[in-house]
Assembly symmetry: C2
Homo-oligomer: 423 residues x 2
């Protein structure tokens, strides 16, 4: 089974937006064991869309086409698909009613050209719209005597993702002939390189190579660490889960505290959950990160349960006057510790995190001997005090230094909060 991707939109070619849909679809296809050889971006031009579709369908069993389903004269994906199928566009009354009802519910008049979205190539199956006005379309077509299929979905990411998951991927898997469900489990890690993870999981990888009941992949997520993903195909969800559960257990045993979460967890959500479970509150004192730790935590909804706040002490005398740091040089583990203590006191928090350092490009005034890229971190909990220093070097750049500081500080807090159990 091979499924290629065609993204439609002149704005993609002009670089006004980056096509992240194709990558997302590619990831989903890979998860479901479906090959993808070509992803193509084409402009809003009916002839070119038609030509690309014909070309891709020579070799691919299916093509997912995203975008160009809107109501304006630029939106010509439907026309191109009808041309490839050699059929006319016909008005689908159910779709037209659904669009009219959506406008009525919002109390707005429906522009006539919205009815363009109810035009469907004869013989296509409609995927009902849930999040926007454009329905998706499943368009079967015969090319060179072989059965192919085109899936037309909207280009708006959250509409596309919902429709792909609900209708397109199941249909693709069914056409692929496998009466099977594909299930993945993702573990998130921080603190070990890809080759380090590989070494630790050597035995399991060798066993899965010999007996491929599941596949194991590493995905690099930059500042968010490395993911270990297990995927299996089985006759039912239950069977797949039963197969993955012991493998996940084995990976967790091998990797230990390096695994910080699973599925939709983030380092931020995990730290907030640990604090919530232990009924502890958090206060931050940030210098070089300038509020980034606080901002990332506050991005998680419900953070206000445990996050008291932060003091961003960018100027040295804010560290001295507000956080009570002893006046003097400001880049050391001892200063980070005083900042963490100050945050606990000033913000009335149980746990304090302090970060100070030199993001660069220039050294800290008055401390020329501290290398650019130095980050000193301290975490203070009711039962522990811990510090660490990163030396990230000048080549990493300001943003990289700040972001690595953030995740390293959160990971240190996580390990200390887990400590009674895991260390």
């Amino acid at each position: 089974m091979r499924c290629d991707v065609l993204a439609v939109g002149t704005e993609l070619l002009l670089g006004q937006i980056v096509d992240s849909n194709s990558a997302w679809i590619g990831e989903q296809l890979a998860c479901h064991g479906i090959a993808s050889h070509l992803h193509v971006q084409v402009g809003d031009n009916v002839g070119r869309i038609e030509a690309e579709l014909r070309r891709l369908l020579e070799h691919a069993d299916a093509v997912i086409v995203c975008g160009g389903l809107g109501p304006t004269h630029d939106d010509v994906t439907r026309d191109a698909a009808a041309a490839v199928m050699g059929v006319e566009l016909v008005l689908d009354d159910d779709v037209a009613d659904a669009i009219a009802a959506m406008f009525a519910a919002r109390g707005r008049p429906m522009p006539q050209n919205n009815l363009r979205q109810a035009l469907v190539p004869a013989g296509a199956e409609v995927i009902a719209q849930r999040r926007g006005t454009a329905p998706g379309l499943i368009c079967p077509v015969t090319v060179g005597g072989r059965e192919r299929v085109m899936y037309l979905v909207p280009g708006v990411p959250h509409e596309l993702e919902e429709m792909l998951t609900r209708a397109v991927l199941p249909d693709l898997v069914r056409r692929g002939g496998a009466a099977a469900t594909i299930v993945s489990r993702t573990l998130k890690t921080w603190g070990e390189s890809e080759s380090g993870l590989n070494d630790r999981l050597d035995d399991l990888i060798a066993r899965l190579d010999a007996d491929p009941t599941a596949t194991l992949a590493f995905l690099a997520r930059g500042w968010n660490g490395l993911e270990v993903r297990l995927t299996t195909r089985a006759a039912s969800q239950e069977e797949a889960e039963a197969r993955l559960a012991p493998l996940e257990e084995e990976i967790r045993d091998c990797l230990g505290v390096v695994v910080f979460g699973a599925g939709s967890d983030s380092m931020e959500s995990v730290v907030l959950d640990l604090l919530r479970r232990r009924k502890l509150t958090l206060g931050l004192a940030e210098s070089l990160t300038g509020g980034l730790v606080a901002a990332r935590l506050a991005a998680v909804s419900g953070a206000s349960d445990v996050l008291r706040g932060a003091v961003v002490s960018y100027a040295s005398d804010v560290k001295f006057d507000l956080l009570g740091v002893t006046p003097g040089p400001v880049v050391s583990e001892d200063v980070a510790l005083q900042m963490a203590d100050g945050a606990r006191q000033v913000l009335g928090a149980d746990v304090g995190i302090g970060l100070t350092g030199v993001a660069g490009p220039d050294p800290q005034p008055g401390e020329p001997d501290v290398p650019v890229g130095t980050v000193c971190i301290a975490v203070v909990t009711p039962e522990a005090r811990r510090t660490t220093t990163l030396q990230l070097g000048r080549h990493n750049g300001r943003e990289q230094v700040r972001q690595f500081g953030v995740i390293t500080a959160l990971d240190l807090a996580r390990r200390l909060l887990l400590a009674p159990v895991a260390e």
Copy 2:
């Protein structure tokens, strides 16, 4: 002149990384008046790369190929290009020497397979590498009796961008037959919709339509506003600049204070520059934005000149105890104002910015009548006190509400700091 783009890498098809290179290249091509009809992503497979190159070169005058120039056996772009040209790969001694010298300079032994990067299709021209080990290649080829060209460049974005700007775009423009320079000027705006900008610039747009000495385009940059871009093609840089200067002046006159910067300015850098020029320092008091204003300002190198710091008062009693806000409901313009005053005092700053609101998805506890998506902002300078309230609604989502709050607050500060001049 038509130039298509081929991005090489299996990781692109698997969705492990998003191909942002093609969008960047597309934008550059558009700036230079070069059409681009297809962007394609293909895996690390020499046969498929070759097939795509042949296919694209049937209609395109040029193809920019990014990626697959590394030293490992996966890196097969050179081989595919040689196959399309019908020539052998030959070792280029200069490139080999340059790679060896680069390893020597870093005091590291050179793995033998790095010499793969010195292999060049016979007849290709080398673009010397400046930032990585892989050189670029200009590969002329005849297809169906017509002269075409392939540009091979590395996939690492900062290497690609440097090489495109230095060598590929000038070569393309030269081949396009125009002995011309293309110059753009970008103005950045906040506070006006695209159709609003269009209305205000109606006269100019009509004149440029009638006499296209320059083109004018609007580019939406989401939380970073809308850009107005002027582009012209002229015999020399001087001639182009002379043509653009009065047009830029006219746009600035029409749009007034809506234009916050030009070129590489950001809202953050503009606010920091204004403060620096007026010898004022800045302190922040953030609630719903959770440190995001501070983090964005601190991302600009040199921010420490003027940024004293921030108090992220996520919990209400941090607002009361640390910032001196009168206890009571915490989402109002008056509270934002008290927060801004508190920030000035606690952080010893000349200018204070305060933000409070409800990011959602749930209402603020104890204030059920304040709609989700409400953001109250205050800015206090030595000579002015100003507040504003955004009602962004629940549908915008937490991140959107926070980011709009940040830019709106910075823009309000900018207008007040400009005030003696612009208001």
